[in-house]
């Protein structure tokens, strides 16, 4: 690759934020798609893989006696601190990464080279897993009030909408086109969510180009049509997600908000969610807090407060816009959320980047914390989706609209994340979910208003690579294993019952029972070992320095790394690159105990709770 000035640097140190004692020496490789750090350590040779597309910033710090520090911050909130012995090498790595992390063409993105070895049919099926029309069908549209309009075929009306748009039956093409001309980027009001029970619906659009006094008959008719689509209601709410001040300021630019005098039977409301710039800064501030070196409790809480992040999260939740089971696919991807601009996959204007999807994902997590039985998926599911929004390993979150995605032939040239997640769905299930549980019935009613204390800092996401900060034992995985085992036992019970019946008929011995028994004890052996998680003390004190510190062994044996297509296909986000599932090496930190195997004991001297790749 022409951008790689320095494919390999030796004797690089990888620092640990929490403990200076845990620094490890290894070799750094730059490949076309990943940055890879391989520890020198004796047998295990842990590997850390980072996709170039995950890199959000690279910082070269002042050279010290030990070398030149390089700080890599990732969009999935991983922070990698390297110290490279030679300043010149560090500079070359820095320059290479700057270029690699900012591809200029879509074709450079990982998803165009990523190949999970699926055949054509499987790839197509993957893309069909989430089908918009089916989603609408589930909601009960089209029906007497709503229909699919083909007004946007060839993206003639609005290039950021999909070709098929659901609109009220009474809205003619004339009205739609007229309305679209009165809306920013021509995003006319279209159906987002329909509630079968009471005909209520959620539509969405961009701001009207009202300026201080402009009107548009068709746009007013459009809102009327929407109102009439719910015969049970005399009015519609128009909810503006901005703070009122921002909306008013926009009028000077010829944009603005709906004037209640011009639209009959609307009730207008601002909710005051801050704009992308405020959100971006807020997240930035919070991440700075996460990165602090040995912060006090006060530093942390003050920083958290000062970032305003939880305040924004709560504002979004309070707005009640995000109903838990809204599928990301429908609400975000198909309706032209500006993925490319907001997530900065390609080199572009940094001011357009915003963490809106991060906030949505966090809101779902906050709901999960309040309703532990209501969601079929678990925290890992959310974290992996967040990871892949930025990984560019799958085509789902590329580009800014359906139009762009079609032009790039995303579905023919890349793979769908949903197929990948579906394949590993066992890892993403919430063991507490039961379809018949009261929490999974109907609408959730989260606590609003004064219950601030219910909103918590999500260290599982924002400090997810610092495994030492998290609970060392996963209740989810344990319960999943228990559930699986119960199921197996029940099946076994059935078999045994059958056998017993047979036995009672003919008193003959049966040797198959014995082998079955052995299987079971093997399985039990695994299950009891899940507790012995590797766990070492952190730095609780600097006062102990006078004692010989147990520094990690520094083998100088060179480690050759052969990059094969096999290595590249790894696709588990815990990998920053992690275990390759097909190589048979399990990532112990995220797998259910039943699949795990014996975990190393605390004295094994290696932190197996880190996300690492153990393949030799």
């Amino acid at each position: 690759m022409e951008h790689i000035r320095m494919p390999k640097v030796e004797n690089v140190r990888l620092l640990d934020r929490l403990s200076s004692r845990r620094a490890v020496v290894g070799t750094l490789y730059l490949t076309a798609t990943h940055v890879i750090f391989v520890e020198n350590g004796s047998e295990t040779r842990k590997e850390t893989w980072v996709l170039h597309s995950q890199i959000s910033s690279i910082e070269k710090q002042a050279t010290t006696a030990t070398g030149c520090p390089l700080l890599i911050r990732c969009k999935n909130f991983q922070v990698i601190q390297l110290v490279i012995p030679q300043e010149r090498d560090c500079h070359d790595v820095y320059i290479s990464l700057i270029r690699l992390a900012r591809p200029v063409k879509y074709e450079e993105l990982y998803c165009f080279s990523f190949n999970p070895k699926l055949d054509k049919e499987e790839r197509e099926q993957g893309w069909k897993l989430v089908d918009l029309n089916e989603e609408y069908h589930r909601m009960g549209v089209p029906n007497n009030y709503w229909q699919i309009s083909d007004v946007n075929r060839d993206y003639g009306v609005c290039d950021s909408y999909p070709t098929e748009v659901y609109v009220p039956k009474s809205a003619t093409a004339h009205i739609i086109v007229g309305s679209s001309k009165f809306r920013s980027r021509r995003r006319f009001p279209a159906l987002s969510y329909y509630c079968k029970g009471n005909n209520a619906s959620i539509c969405r659009s961009s701001q009207p180009l009202s300026g201080f006094s402009a009107r548009c008959l068709e746009d007013e008719q459009m809102l009327q049509a929407i109102r009439k689509a719910n015969p049970g209601s005399d009015f519609i709410y128009v909810v503006d997600t901005r703070p009122k001040l921002n909306a008013m300021a926009n009028r000077a630019a010829g944009k603005g908000y709906e004037n209640e005098d011009n639209y009959s039977n609307i009730k207008f409301q601002f909710i005051g969610i801050e704009n992308i710039h405020v959100m971006r800064n807020s997240l930035q501030k919070m991440l700075e807090v996460c990165e602090l070196k040995s912060p006090s409790m006060s530093d942390f809480l003050w920083g958290l407060e000062n970032s305003g992040w939880l305040k924004h999260i709560k504002a979004i939740m309070d707005a009640g816009i995000f109903i838990a089971k809204v599928l990301i696919e429908k609400d975000w991807v198909s309706f032209g959320h500006k993925f490319n601009h907001r997530y900065g996959n390609l080199d572009g204007d940094p001011k357009e980047i915003s963490p809106v999807i991060d906030q949505f994902i966090e809101c779902v997590w906050q709901l999960m914390e309040q309703f532990p039985c209501a969601f079929e998926f678990n925290e890992r599911f959310l974290i992996h989706i967040q990871h892949h929004i930025y990984s560019c390993q799958f085509g789902n979150f590329l580009c800014n609209s359906q139009k762009e995605r079609r032009e790039l032939k995303i579905k023919e040239r890349t793979y769908s994340l949903w197929a990948h997640l579906w394949k590993n769905r066992a890892d993403y299930l919430n063991p507490l979910f039961r379809p018949d549980h009261s929490q999974s019935q109907g609408t959730l009613h989260p606590q609003i208003a004064p219950c601030n204390f219910l909103y918590k800092f999500w260290s599982g996401m924002y400090n997810r690579f610092e495994k030492g900060l998290h609970p060392r034992q996963s209740v989810t995985d344990y319960l999943m294993a228990v559930k699986e085992e119960t199921q197996q036992l029940e099946e076994e019970l059935e078999v045994l019952q059958e056998r017993l019946a047979n036995l009672q008929k003919s008193q003959s011995g049966n040797n198959k029972v014995k082998s079955k028994q052995q299987d079971r004890s093997k399985q039990f052996g695994l299950y009891t070992s899940n507790n012995s998680l590797a766990n070492t003390p952190q730095e609780y004190s600097n006062d102990l320095k006078s004692f010989p510190s147990r520094s990690p062994s520094q083998g100088d044996e060179d480690s050759a790394l052969i990059l094969t297509q096999d290595n590249l296909k790894s696709s588990d986000p815990d990998l920053s690159a992690n275990s390759d599932q097909e190589s048979g090496v399990e990532d112990l930190s995220c797998r259910s105990p039943s699949g795990g195997g014996c975990l190393p004991s605390e004295d094994s001297g290696k932190d197996s709770d880190e996300a690492v790749f153990l393949a030799g």
Binding site: Q370, V482, L503, N511, K514, S532, P537, Y540, S546
Partner: protein, 533 residues
């Protein structure tokens, strides 16, 4: 008025309970607000007015009672005040509470020092059980039997006791079988401004270490505070007198500032008018989580010295009855798997808090609403429970008991029907005949239907040391306690019972399956052998 007589229960809206329950609640009272006039003055049908009594309970619940009739209201308020400030220990409820099915002596002798020593003596012969404190003469706040170095005689101990505040000479708190190191605790030495020394005290600490071996003294005060303590007769071990010991200072808050922290946190939790920013500011301002972090870090430090540096450790602050016990008890929970079972945890509480002389009666008198009264009030024990909760959150399978037990312990430490947490030390308990005249909480908890509530269904014995993370991101507000009466808990309770259902379902299937398998063992023994497959 006899404590058993309470105002006729029909006059209280919450009445209808049997008197003991009502009395329990009165004792649970932290502070009550004087009645104020309420009701609608325009409503002429109500002759006279009504009053509102606000009861702030020690378990942090707030009850408001609307009582018709001003006079009646004042009467009730008067009675409640009288009943909730019973001064004499022997007039307190545990002396009258007689739960059916329990015998008085049950549970009182489950964790004698002798039993603890028995286990120890099978592992080492360097320590002995001393009865030097038989009649509480050496140290009034120690139990009758304590563990001291085997090489030190009782008269040395008696002399060393005079050199330590309150007579709390160094005793063994925990023996670490892995490497033979030990955790000791004491109070501060009475060095004073003229730098007094005590050869007997130096001997005790000297014999513990072999030649060339080093030990750590973890002082739970700042270096500054320890120095200042010399002015009032206290102080710390000087390097010159204890050459093999290295001192580490870890300032842990105690007394008034800790109590204020608790009060501020409880106020912040019950203030519904806060915005998100203000809430975080108030949470930070209360400093409670900082205290949790500091306590856990210090306990980890002690555990690290023992387990990783193979060093013996002595912990003390000033009196040796508060932060000292916090650190030694937590360190044991981190190091010793046997403390993490339900039974073992009760033993730990008995050993390191109750028998070790944490002054429960002084510290746990009024809970969060001790408005200026009681200078001795301090939630050290609550801080310990909070730290245990943090451990249970970080290691959800490693403790045999769940949050419910910690809540029950908190409730009982402040207001109990049982004698376990009464008085300040064993001497007082013996004087008040607590063990003869009250029931033990442990006996109550031991009953199968009670016990079940406190067990952690996810528990599985973990033989390892559990090193918690003390980073701010890992320390959380204990919502189950501080928001117990405020946050909606239905969905979380449902999740908990779902967990129980899953795990118990598994156990049942497993048992059933085993039973079935056993029942179908081939009747002919020959059929079971001889097939290699």
């Amino acid at each position: 008025m006899s404590p058993l007589l309470c105002p006729s229960s029909s006059s209280l809206p919450s009445g209808g309970h049997c008197p003991p329950l009502l009395l329990l609640r009165v004792q649970n009272l932290g502070w009550y607000q004087p009645p104020r006039t309420g009701g609608s003055p325009r409503d002429t049908r109500v002759s006279g007015s009504s009053g509102t009594i606000t009861l702030r309970c020690k378990d942090l619940r707030v009850l408001q009672l609307e009582i018709p009739g001003m006079e009646q209201c004042l009467n009730i308020a008067g009675s409640i005040e009288a009943l909730s400030s019973v001064d004499s220990v022997m007039m307190m409820y545990p002396f009258f509470h007689r739960p059916p099915g329990l015998r008085l002596e049950q549970g009182w002798h489950r964790f004698p020092p002798e039993r603890f020593f028995q286990r120890l003596s099978s592992q080492t012969s360097q320590w002995r059980l001393s009865t030097v404190n038989r009649d509480f003469s050496a140290c009034p706040s120690y139990p009758e039997a304590v563990i001291v170095p085997a090489a030190v005689g009782d008269d040395t101990v008696t002399k060393a006791a005079r050199f330590r505040q309150g007579g709390r000479f160094p005793v063994l708190s925990y023996f670490h079988p892995k490497n033979g190191t030990a955790l000791l605790r004491s109070s501060q030495p009475l060095t004073g401004h003229n730098r007094r020394r005590c050869p007997e005290d130096e001997k005790i600490l000297g014999t513990i270490l072999d030649e060339g071996e080093r030990g750590f003294i973890i002082d739970t005060r700042s270096a500054q505070a320890a120095k200042q303590a010399r002015m009032s007769g206290g102080g710390t071990e000087p390097k010159s007198a204890y050459p093999q010991w290295r001192r580490i200072h870890r300032a842990l808050e105690r007394g008034r500032p800790l109590q204020e922290s608790f009060t501020r946190l409880v106020e912040a939790c019950s203030d519904p008018s806060l915005s998100m920013d203000r809430w975080l500011a108030r949470l930070d301002g209360s400093r409670w989580l900082s205290h949790v972090k500091a306590a856990l870090s210090t306990a980890c430090l002690a555990a690290q010295c023992l387990d990783r540096e193979d060093c013996k450790v002595l912990v003390h602050g000033a009196e040796g009855t508060d932060t000292t016990l916090l650190v030694t008890a937590l360190a044991q929970l981190i190091l010793d798997p046997s403390c993490r079972s339900l039974q073992g945890f009760q033993g730990l509480l008995e050993r390191e808090w109750i028998q070790a002389g944490h002054p429960f009666q002084l510290r746990c008198a009024r809970s969060a609403s001790s408005h200026g009264r009681g200078k001795q009030e301090a939630p050290i024990f609550l801080l310990f429970l909070d730290c245990v909760w943090q451990l249970s959150r970080q290691f959800p399978f490693s403790l045999e008991f769940g949050e419910e037990l910690l809540l029950t312990l908190f409730d009982n430490a402040y207001a109990s029907a049982y004698g376990t947490f009464l008085c300040n030390n064993e001497k007082e308990r013996s004087l008040c005949k607590v063990k003869e005249s009250t029931h033990s909480l442990w006996a109550w908890l031991e009953q199968p239907e009670e016990k079940h509530k406190y067990l952690n269904p996810l528990y599985s014995h973990n033989p390892l040391v559990i090193w918690p993370s003390v980073e701010p991101q890992s320390i959380q507000l204990w919502q189950g306690l501080f928001l117990r009466w405020i946050r909606p808990s239905q969905h979380l309770d449902e999740a908990w019972s779902e967990i129980q259902r899953l795990v118990e379902g598994n156990n049942n299937s497993s048992k059933e399956s085993t039973r079935k398998r056993l029942s179908q063992t081939p009747p002919d023994p020959a059929a079971g052998t001889g097939n290699g497959r």
